[in-house]
């Protein structure tokens, strides 16, 4: 497996593994995306399909600095999305927990 191990030389090789996989992308401005990665480049520009965006809007009541702040989550879906690389914080593969799968019990 040494030849496989040598396949990883730089972080971009890791992103390459995620091609056509569902990925989780953390973006600046409290935004997160999940989608299927179809393209990336050296600037971390991405093209994703079947995207769901999650925007976290933190509402802090006025005056209370450490008071209870509510987090509103807005979600939306997009078919095919180009994401400009300068907003990307991280890209990771989205793991599916198969433990939740139903067993064939009949």
């Amino acid at each position: 497996m040494d030849s496989v191990a040598s396949g990883i030389q730089e972080p971009f090789d890791l992103i390459r593994l995620s091609l056509s996989e569902r990925v989780f992308v953390k973006l600046r401005g409290d935004r997160e995306l999940t989608g299927v990665l179809h393209a990336y480049d050296g600037h971390m520009n991405l093209i994703l399909s079947d995207v769901e965006e999650t925007i976290m809007i933190v509402d802090q009541p006025e005056g209370a600095v450490n008071g209870p702040s509510t987090v509103n989550i807005a979600k939306r879906k997009m078919d095919m999305l180009f994401v400009r690389g300068d907003g990307v914080i991280l890209v990771s593969r989205k793991y599916i927990k198969w433990g939740a799968a139903l067993s064939m019990s009949y």
Binding site: L19, N45, I47, M78, R84
Partner: protein
């Protein structure tokens, strides 16, 4: 160059450009350059009530750096080919 190449194939298609200031502009992609600056024709702003100053604007040139997302017409993107192109570019850059 990969993304530039992709955008080239999307000229004359309807795209929605979302800017970093949350302005969303839908229009016909007329041209794009290697900086991913974008020219849109017959544009329409998503939330016109919030951006009344954009109402009279019919076409625009968007500096690439202010773009957050571009929503592409999925039917005009060949994902298989796109992944291949990405692999090719990644391989080419590894060689360099």
């Amino acid at each position: 160059m990969l993304i530039f190449s992709v955008f080239k194939t999307l000229t004359d298609q309807q795209v929605t450009v979302e800017l970093k200031n949350d302005l969303s502009i839908t229009g016909t992609l007329k041209s794009v350059d290697q900086f991913l600056n974008i020219r849109l024709d017959s544009i329409k702003v998503l939330d016109e009530a919030r951006h009344p100053h954009m109402m009279a604007v019919k076409n625009c040139f968007i500096r690439g750096s202010v773009v957050r997302y571009v929503q592409l017409p999925a039917e005009h993107v060949d994902t298989q080919l796109l992944e291949d192109a990405t692999r090719r570019e990644a391989a080419a850059q590894q060689k360099r």
